[in-house]
Amino acid sequence: MSALLAVIARAEALLATIASVVLGATMAIVATDVVMRYGFNHPFGWSYDLVSLYFTLVLFYFCLSRAFSAHAHVAVDILHYYVSARTRRVFALISCTLSAPLFAIIAAVTFQRAVDAFARHDIIEGAIEWPTWAYLALAPLGTALLTLRLLVDATAHAVALSGGPELIPLPPLARSDEGLEGASFE
C-alpha cells in the first residue's frame, strides 16, 4: 500500500511539473502574441487553438489529483471542528468512496471519445489541423489518476479506521496553521 501511494505521489508530482511548465508556456505565448499583434501586426495564428484546446486541459487534468492529495480543493469543513478525528476519517472515507465512481465514469466515457476520435482521424480545422483525440485524451489521463488516488485513499482510511496504521493523514482544517499555509485563492 505504501509503495502504491509513493508511485501515485510520484506520478502526481510529474504531471504537476508538466502543468507548471505549460503554465509558463501559456504566459509566454499569449504575452508574445499580444506584442506580435499590436507591435508588428503579425499575430500567431495557432496560439488561440493551442491554448484553449490543449493547455487549459493540461493545466486542469495534470493538477487534478495533485490538488486533491495536497488538500488544495476548496471544502466546507466547519463541521470538522466539532467532531472527533475518527469521525473526520469516516467523512474522508465516504467522500473518497462517493467521488471515485464519478471520476471513473468520466475517465471511461472520455477515453472512449478519444479512441473514437483517433479512429476517425478527427481534426479541428484551422491554420493548423489539430488532432481532436490528443486533447480528449487528457481528460481520462487526469481523471483515471484521480480515481486511483481516491480508491487508494479510501482503502487507507478504512485501514486506519479498522485499527491499522495511519497511511495517510487527515486533511488539515482550513483554519489551522497547516491549512492556512496553503490558503485558498479568495
Binding site: 502543468a19 501559456t26 499580444v34 488561440y48 484546446l53 490538488a67 480543493h73 466546507v76 465516504i94 481528460a139
Partner: protein, 429 residues
C-alpha cells in the same frame, strides 16, 4: 421531491467536507441518473469535462494567479506599505490609512484577498503595533484591507462570477474600480472615526524626510506601471482580459526575476501553486456545470423565478433578502463555494427583477468581502491571526466597526447602481 433530495445530498456532502467541485459533480450526476436516466448522465459526463474547460477566457484565472505569485515573490509589496506609511504616517491613524492604501495598491496587482491579507500582516501590522496602535484596531484594519483585492481588476472572484454568469469579463473587472474606491474611503473613514473616539488607539508616526518619500515613491513605480498596463489595456479594449492577464503575469515574472533573483526551485514552486490554484477553481466550475445541467433539466430556476414573480413583493425587498442571505452564508461558507452554489440560481432571478447582472456581481463581491471578516470562519481574520501571532478573537473584534461600515457602503451601491455601472459603460468592446 427529487430536486429537494439532490439538494439535501449536496449539502450533506458539503457538510462532511467533500471538496465543493466534487460534491456538486457527485450530487448533480446522482440527480441526472435518478431523474433522467443513464443515457443523459453519460451524455453530460462525456462532454462537460471538456467543454467546461475549453475556454480561452478561463486562462485569465491562472494568469492572474501567476501574476499574484510573481508579485509576492518579488517582495515589492513590502515597499508599497513603507511608501504609504511615509506619506500618511504623520497623521493620527496614518499607518492604518497607509495599510488601507497598500491593500488597495496590492489588490490592484494581486487579485486574491488571502494573499493580500497575508502580505499586509507581515508588513504593516508589526509597524502599527510598534508604533503603539491598539492591536485589535490594527489587526482589524489589516484583515479588512486585504479584502479590497476582491474588487479590483485582477480579482479572481470577479472572473469566477463573470464565467458563471456569462457576463463580459472586461466590463465586470472595470465595474469594481469605483466601488473599490468607495470601500477604501469607507475603511479610511472608519479608522478616522475610531481615532476621533480615542486618539490613543493610533498615535502618529515620526516624520519622514521629503527626499526619502520621493525615493520610496520611485520604488513602487513598477507596480503602478504594471497596474496601468493591465487595467489600461482592458479599459481601452487594446487587449482582451485574457491577453492583459498574460502580459501582467509576464510583467510580474520580470519584476520577480529582477528584484528577488529567485532560484529555479522558488520559481517552480510559485508556478505550481498557481497551476494548482487554477485547477481548484476549474474543478469547481466543472462540478457547477454538471450540477447546472441537472438544474436546467429540472426547471428549478424557471420555477423559482415564476414563484418569486407571483409574490407581488417589491424587487428591492427581494434584493435586500438576497444580500442578507449572502452575509449569513458568508459566516459559515467559503466565498468561492457561495458563488458557485448560488449564482446559477440567483442570477436568473436578479435578471427577471430587472437588475443588471454586472451591478449584482459587484454588490455580491462586496458582501463576500464582509464574509471574509465575519465570525466564525472569516478567512482573512484567521490569516491575520496566523501571520501576526495575535488571537483570532482579537482580530474579529477589530473588524466589527468595518463590518458595520461595509453595510453602509453596500447600501450606497444598492441605492445608486450608477456608481457600479458608469465605468463599465465606457469600456471599449
Amino acid at each position: 421531491m427529487m430536486v429537494l433530495m439532490v439538494i439535501a445530498a449536496l449539502f450533506a456532502l458539503l457538510a462532511i467536507g467533500m471538496p465543493v467541485g466534487f460534491a456538486m459533480g457527485v450530487s448533480g450526476a446522482m440527480g441526472l441518473l435518478i431523474g433522467f436516466g443513464p443515457n443523459v448522465l453519460v451524455g453530460v459526463l462525456e462532454t462537460t469535462p471538456i467543454s467546461a474547460l475549453n475556454s480561452y477566457e478561463l486562462i485569465t484565472i491562472p494568469m492572474f494567479l501567476l501574476m499574484a505569485e510573481m508579485v509576492l515573490l518579488s517582495g515589492i509589496a513590502d515597499d508599497l506599505f513603507k511608501t504609504a506609511a511615509a506619506w500618511f504616517g504623520r497623521i493620527p491613524g496614518g499607518l492604518g490609512i497607509a495599510t488601507t492604501l497598500a491593500g488597495a495598491g496590492f489588490g490592484a496587482i494581486c487579485g486574491t484577498s488571502t494573499a493580500s491579507a497575508a502580505t499586509l500582516s507581515a508588513t504593516s501590522l508589526p509597524s502599527m503595533i510598534k508604533q503603539g496602535y491598539e492591536p485589535r484596531m490594527a489587526a482589524g484594519v489589516v484583515a479588512i484591507s486585504g479584502t479590497l483585492a476582491m474588487l479590483l481588476p485582477t480579482s479572481v472572484a470577479l472572473i469566477i462570477f463573470a464565467l458563471l454568469a456569462e457576463v463580459n469579463v472586461a466590463k465586470l473587472l472595470m465595474s469594481g474600480i469605483i466601488p473599490a474606491m468607495i470601500v477604501t474611503l469607507t475603511i479610511i473613514a472608519t479608522i478616522l472615526f475610531l481615532v476621533w473616539q480615542d486618539p490613543a488607539r493610533a498615535p502618529a508616526a515620526p516624520a519622514v524626510p521629503f527626499r526619502e518619500k520621493l525615493r520610496l515613491l520611485w520604488g513602487v513605480g513598477p507596480m503602478v506601471v504594471l497596474f496601468a498596463i493591465v487595467t489600461g489595456a482592458i479599459f481601452t479594449g487594446i487587449a482582451t482580459p485574457t491577453e492583459a492577464s498574460a502580459v501582467g503575469a509576464f510583467g510580474g515574472f520580470v519584476l520577480a526575476v529582477l528584484k528577488a533573483r529567485p532560484s529555479l526551485g522558488q520559481l517552480q514552486h510559485s508556478f505550481e501553486r498557481a497551476a494548482i490554484g487554477s485547477c481548484m477553481i476549474a474543478m469547481i466550475l466543472m462540478g457547477a456545470s454538471i450540477f447546472g445541467y441537472f438544474f436546467t433539466l429540472s426547471h428549478v430556476t424557471q420555477d423559482l423565478v415564476a414563484w418569486v414573480g407571483a409574490l407581488h413583493v417589491s424587487r428591492w425587498v427581494i434584493i435586500v433578502i438576497i444580500l442578507a442571505m449572502y452575509i449569513v452564508l458568508g459566516s459559515f461558507m467559503d466565498q468561492v463555494a457561495i458563488l458557485v452554489l448560488t449564482v446559477p440560481i440567483v442570477l436568473p432571478l436578479i435578471k427577471s427583477l430587472g437588475f443588471d447582472p454586472i451591478w449584482f456581481g459587484v454588490v455580491k463581491i462586496v458582501t463576500a468581502e464582509v464574509g471574509m471578516i465575519t465570525p466564525p470562519i472569516g478567512l482573512n481574520c484567521f490569516i491575520v491571526a496566523r501571520y501576526s501571532n495575535r488571537p483570532v478573537v482579537e482580530v474579529f473584534r477589530g473588524t466589527m466597526p468595518h463590518f458595520v461600515a461595509h453595510l453602509f457602503a453596500i447600501a450606497i451601491m444598492v441605492a445608486f447602481p450608477a456608481i457600479v455601472l458608469w465605468l463599465p459603460s465606457l469600456v471599449h468592446k
